[in-house]
Symmetry: C2
Subunit: 263 residues, 2 copies
């Protein structure tokens, strides 16, 4: 079922683009990323709906660019280190990551939570670009590079609050989300509006049972929501300490970061 959707999106991108080879390459990279073990030519071609020979040439090009590794013995392909090099360069260039890291470290220490820095990418997803876990206690965690649907959880309420969607579009996209404990659209929509007035959003176990998420927007450019600071904690632990201190700390840290970009 996942494959179907991927194949559809791939077909679209390839058909529409004037450089379909690039879409094929990207699809191959993502496919190799998704699977734990190296894949053979036929498998890749079949799964993506590509002609084997075309796929072979694409793979050879990717191997030449050191983005894909080729095991000559088993004739299997997998991701190669080139993708890491690109990622490192991207992280270096993103000033947000550099400035946010010390803030994440401080907040995770002070409030004993897992802190994330996230960034919107496209209209569909947010990705984790920085993380800091608190010491030794049991903690939830998310990996740098992890991708989530744009409208899910606390960050989702921020996205909904600060990007200009009309209610109709918001509703259709809301219906595609998967929660452990789905809120009704009405409740959720009210919380989105609260987010706009209070400057941060909370998800108390909706997305993942037992996990509370708090998110506050960081403004790299005025009016354009793109980044946020996120705190993750086990609901029980957070309720014991109370959410107010954490929310206040998160919001003031986020505002501090925003100011450093407004110059």
């Amino acid at each position: 079922m996942n494959d179907k959707r991927d194949a559809g999106g791939l077909a679209d991108n390839i058909k529409q683009s004037k450089a379909p080879a690039i879409s094929r390459a990207a699809a191959i990279l993502r496919l190799l990323g998704k699977h734990e073990s190296p894949l053979g030519l036929q498998t890749i071609a079949r799964e993506l709906g590509l002609v084997p020979s075309t796929c072979l040439y694409a793979l050879r090009a990717l191997v030449a660019e050191e983005l894909v590794a080729f095991d000559a013995d088993t004739k299997r392909y997998s991701l190669d280190a080139g993708v890491l090099t690109l990622a490192r360069q991207w992280l270096q260039r993103d000033q947000f990551t550099d400035l946010a890291q010390p803030v994440l470290d401080r907040l995770s220490r002070e409030h004993e939570v897992t802190m994330l820095a996230v960034k919107c990418v496209g209209a569909e997803h947010i990705v984790v670009v920085g993380a800091s876990r608190a010491g030794n206690t049991l903690q939830v965690s998310a990996q740098v590079g992890g991708r989530f649907p744009a409208l899910i959880s606390a960050t989702g309420r921020c996205v909904a609050a600060y990007r200009n969607f009309d209610e109709a579009e918001l509703r259709t996209r809301f219906d595609t989300l998967r929660w452990d404990n789905p809120p009704s659209f009405e409740d959720w929509y009210r919380e989105v509006q609260e987010t706009r007035s209070q400057g941060f959003a909370v998800d108390a176990g909706n997305y993942i049972s037992g996990v509370t998420v708090v998110a506050a927007p960081v403004w790299l450019a005025p009016g354009k929501f793109s980044h946020a600071l996120v705190a993750l904690g086990l609901g029980s632990a957070l309720q014991r300490r109370g959410l107010d201190g954490l929310s206040a700390g998160l919001v003031s840290a986020a505002e501090g970061l925003s100011q450093r970009f407004s110059t």
Copy 2:
């Protein structure tokens, strides 16, 4: 001068390949990675020797794949988060990284050095896939994702020792290397042979003045050199403690890792 060399390599890859669009895409990604600030279409096209319209279509495809970000206001392109997602998947799939990390942490603590895990990629380069810095003292460091010429420094002596190059090829490639204090080929070649007999390599300030590098191979598959553990330290500090303990620790850790892959 750097541009010249890149353009040459790019031209080669494009001409030879049956999927030149992919080589163009990779070149664009690397170019965007190299520059700190976002680039315009013309700049990219000029620097890579591409036709602007072709370049435009390539960029649009990359944007559609979320590998490149496009700022509609400034019409500038930069790397996007997609590259991070790929890198994370690659790191997850590579068992070496997982197994090596705790070893790196232990060695860096015990010997107060910066530890790296490196991997050969292609015949030309090694990349840093894991790192662990020792506490608070002044330390040299290298970033995960960093790329180095295959034959440079201590890791280079390992590559030369354990891959089967004939002496002629070794010599021509040796001549292209840049060292702070270049050794003569004869001295270097002798050290390569020592590496084979003693099981680890040392670079005492050749590559970077004042920095001592020790490297020991890790064998994921018997006879195929691909990975290594590397210790970095300021020469003065290392000489005070003596290199013997460090070398022994490094070699036994590397052998331990190798055994875990031999099953």
